[in-house]
């Protein structure tokens, strides 16, 4: 229903005064308009603002790919490393300077492809790094090839007869590697991302956030916005995040239930 001009002006004024977007960089992000990364960026920003984390005490470590550009668009320290090495580099940063809040961001290619070997080790070392894996099941920066989380049959220029390799389930991997905090989120629900991150940041130890998102430019058939909006739904109410076995079962049976799957109590 039409909002009155007064109300709208007031709403915008309050946002300005709240400085909620001071976390953003001055320049507009270069992601394609409509990209899910904007939703994730919104979610993470609100979490940082809600917790009042001082920007100079934050480091965002990123890999190669569209997500690699993330640090350039936030008003924090950033380390844009080489393809697949986000987690080892984050380990170094956190151990060297523990009072920094370290976020690691990367795509499904960077995290499950070339960087797949590093996830088990940061998990079992339980380094207090908040790792957001943006999962849009495609290599976007190289203009559309199947990624380790692309489904069988997924058609791209590099898989004209349909992708042959079975996809990896990142949440299940993180749980099986012993990650002490695992959440599954959706780029179209920034509020959900914020709530999970606030808890994740508070959690002392490796926190893994598997975020479903859509590549509007190169994926017109699988993880489109319309599909994701139909598939995702909240975790069942009775889900107990402290129970690892239940979390693993949930990750096995239902790929699209959102929320905090597992949170190991210290």
């Amino acid at each position: 229903m039409k909002t009155s001009g007064k109300v709208l002006a007031e709403q915008v004024k309050k946002i300005g005064e709240s400085k909620v977007f001071s976390i953003r960089s001055p320049s507009l992000p270069t992601w394609c308009p409509g990209c899910g990364y904007f939703g994730i960026h919104q979610g993470l920003n609100n979490a940082i603002q809600r917790l009042g984390l001082p920007h100079h005490k934050i480091v965002v470590v990123s890999g190669i790919g569209c997500a690699g550009r993330y640090p350039f668009f936030t008003d924090t320290y950033g380390l844009h490393t080489v393809h697949g090495r986000t987690l080892p580099v984050s380990t170094g940063v956190k151990l060297a300077n523990p009072e920094l809040t370290v976020f690691a961001v990367g795509g499904d290619g960077d995290g499950l492809g070339i960087g797949g070997g590093h996830l088990p080790h940061i998990a079992r070392r339980n380094i207090d790094v908040k790792y957001l894996l943006f999962d849009n099941s495609i290599y976007g920066l190289t203009k559309g090839q199947p990624s380790p989380s692309s489904p069988v049959g997924f058609k791209t220029k590099a898989s004209p007869q349909g992708n042959k390799d079975a996809p990896l389930n990142a949440t299940l991997l993180a749980l099986s590697y012993g990650a002490s905090f695992v959440a599954r989120l959706f780029a179209g629900d920034p509020e959900g991302i914020t709530r999970a991150l606030v808890q994740g940041i508070g959690h002392k130890g490796f926190s893994f956030f598997h975020v479903y998102t859509s590549c509007v430019t190169f994926d017109k058939e699988y993880k489109t916005w319309d599909h994701l909006k139909q598939w995702v739904h909240p975790l069942p109410a009775k889900h107990d995040p402290a129970n690892l076995k239940q979390a693993i079962d949930e990750a096995l049976e239902d790929q699209f239930s959102l929320g905090i799957l597992y949170k190991r109590m210290e």
């Binding site: 039409k2 009155s4 946002i15 953003r24 308009p33 904007f38 916005w225």
Partner: protein
């Protein structure tokens, strides 16, 4: 989502309507233009006609003779966007293509037990009579001429307004119960005082039929005719003989009607002489082009000084003029240039330089000749119960202005008689779905009105209507061009993820990265402080004054946070809150 409906009489929302539906704001009768164009697009010709009929009781007539103030303000006519929608031709198409039956009326409410007399069955009188009858008032309509219609019948030639269209729409008004008494001149055959005694109120809408004279030497020579008289003789079927060379002095619709009628009466060389230039003409551009193609010549910057001739008119002496300063909003001053006299020969001269109302003399009062004084806003006059409206009040204006005034006068009378407002303007908001309007429709060429071709064919039977009306396909195609500005697109800031997909698909700069939204005291949005500094982008906002309602943003929004609301300026009967739409 259930279609939630809300009404508002907030000044902010009325301001919003003026800015966002400029065509309706420009229409003196405040016709709900987007609604009737959408109705026609959906093939609901009757629906379109009745939406029109609510605001202006003569859609068929005005579809032909309206001066179209709405089209000048149509957003599709903005410099970047091409040419305005043919709103008037669509109105006529709805009237032509509908099932010929009286439009639904709100129905006579319980009789108010009041009696009102209306003097003058012109557009203003007819509009007032219609509204009064439909609200339960017994109305008697007195008309000086033998038939109703006023200027519509006696001032406008048949090739522009066929009589059967006029009669049909007058009959609909009679059907509401108004009693029409023709051949009765109020103030002469029937004194006003008698009417005031027998009725609770009297409305004078007698129009203005007294031609203005130029008061030039030789103006009374035979062969010199005032514009209105010439047209009334032509319309009455007894045209004067005018010879070959005709000079018409004047710049309004009457002058153009006289010139085109002169051609149809066989004149070879017809020239319209303007004191200023073609730019300052009061008629529409199409009218000027149509007149020139029929062979009329238009000469400018010449002021008539003397009409020459012994027994008959033989010529006119003019003097050159230079355009002077603009007087406020009005026309430019006319400054004659010394010693620039010159003569043009003529067999007939028509002076069509405007009219003024015929004062109705009151027998009451000392001098017995007391002339009426009336207030244009409240329509009430110096005598209680006596109201004035239409051209009779304001002097020559347009048909649509007369209709608008007639309706507002009826409302004022009802309020005075019953002590309660019976109808109020309100802004109706209803959540709605996105339309099926396609971006490609913005490039549909404007459908031109087909006319009788070749030109001589129009003169064979002088009363043939020149404009033959849009075909159903043309009307449908033209209705696609309307942006439907009564749709309000809005981004819910709470759910927006600032991904700028909407801006990417926007056809123009209609969606803005905004730091601050500026409003006026009433609270309506008047502007934005834009920014490209991402940290200062507090919101992404649709600028409704630039939005052409294409709906692309809504189709792509990943988080579906763009909603569309139908926001219409309508009228509601005050008592039961039942709304007319």
């Amino acid at each position: 989502m259930g279609n939630q409906i809300r009404y508002s009489v907030e000044p902010e929302d009325f301001y919003y309507m003026d800015v966002n539906v400029p065509c309706q704001a420009a229409c003196p009768a405040a016709t709900n233009i987007p609604a009737y164009i959408r109705a026609l697009f959906e093939g609901r010709y009757d629906g379109s006609y009745s939406i029109n009929h609510m605001a202006n009781i003569l859609p068929g007539v005005l579809g032909r003779v309206c001066s179209r103030p709405c089209e000048d303000k149509c957003r599709h006519g903005e410099p970047e966007l091409g040419r305005p929608v043919n709103i008037c031709h669509i109105k006529r198409a709805a009237a032509d293509l509908r099932r010929k039956a009286p439009p639904p009326e709100p129905g006579p409410l319980a009789s108010l037990g009041k009696k009102v007399a209306v003097a003058g069955a012109g557009p203003a009188g007819l509009a007032a009579a219609h509204d009064l009858c439909t609200l339960g008032v017994a109305v008697t309509l007195y008309e000086a001429f033998e038939k109703g219609g006023g200027m519509l019948r006696y001032g406008i030639p048949e090739f522009r307004l066929p009589r059967e269209v006029l009669e049909e729409e007058i009959d609909y008004i009679a059907a509401t119960g108004a009693i029409l008494k023709t051949g009765v001149r109020v103030g002469i055959d029937v004194p006003i005082e008698d009417l005031l005694r027998e009725h609770d109120a009297v409305l004078l809408a007698a129009g203005c039929y007294r031609s203005l004279r130029l008061d030039l030497p030789g103006e009374d020579l035979p062969g010199v005719y005032p514009g209105l008289e010439f047209m009334m003789q032509v319309c009455a079927g007894k045209p004067p003989s005018i010879g070959n060379r005709v000079l018409v002095v004047g710049a309004g619709f009457t002058a153009f009607d006289c010139a085109r009628s002169a051609l149809r009466l066989g004149a070879e060389d017809v020239t319209i002489c303007l004191r200023r230039t073609e730019e300052d003409l009061a008629v529409t551009k199409d009218e000027a082009i149509e007149t020139k193609t029929e062979g009329v010549k238009i000469a400018s910057l010449m002021l008539s000084r003397k009409i020459l001739g012994k027994e008959r008119v033989e010529g006119v002496e003019f003097v050159r003029t230079r355009p002077g300063e603009k007087r406020g909003e009005g026309k430019r001053e006319v400054v004659a240039i010394e010693e620039s006299e010159f003569v043009l020969p003529a067999d007939c001269v028509i002076v069509a330089t405007g009219q003024r109302p015929e004062p109705i003399r009151l027998t009451v009062g000392k001098k017995g000749e007391e002339v009426l004084k009336a207030d244009p806003d409240s329509f009430s006059s110096s005598m209680k119960g006596l109201y004035v409206a239409g051209d009779y009040l304001t002097g020559p204006s347009t048909v649509i202005q007369a209709v608008g005034m007639g309706r507002r006068a009826a409302e004022k009378i009802i309020r005075d008689l019953t002590g309660k407002p019976f109808r109020e303007k309100t802004v109706r908001m209803e959540e709605t779905e996105i339309t099926d309007r396609k971006r490609a429709w913005d490039y549909v060429a404007r459908q031109e009105m087909p006319t009788v071709q070749p030109v001589p064919e129009r003169f064979r039977i002088p009363r043939t209507e020149v404009e033959t009306g849009l075909s159903p396909e043309q009307a449908q195609e033209e209705s696609k061009r309307c942006y439907l500005c009564y749709l309000h697109y809005e981004i819910d800031i709470g759910r927006c993820i600032y991904c700028r997909y909407c801006i990417d698909v926007a056809p123009r700069d209609c969606i803005k990265l905004v730091k601050e939204v500026k409003t006026n005291e009433a609270g309506a949005i008047t502007g934005f402080t834009e920014t490209t500094h991402w940290a200062e982008v507090n919101a992404i906002v649709i600028d409704n004054s630039r939005c052409i309602r294409c709906g692309e943003c809504m189709r792509v929004c990943p988080v579906n946070c763009i909603t569309v609301t139908k926001v219409e300026l309508t009228e509601r009967t005050a008592q039961e809150g039942k709304d007319h739409v």
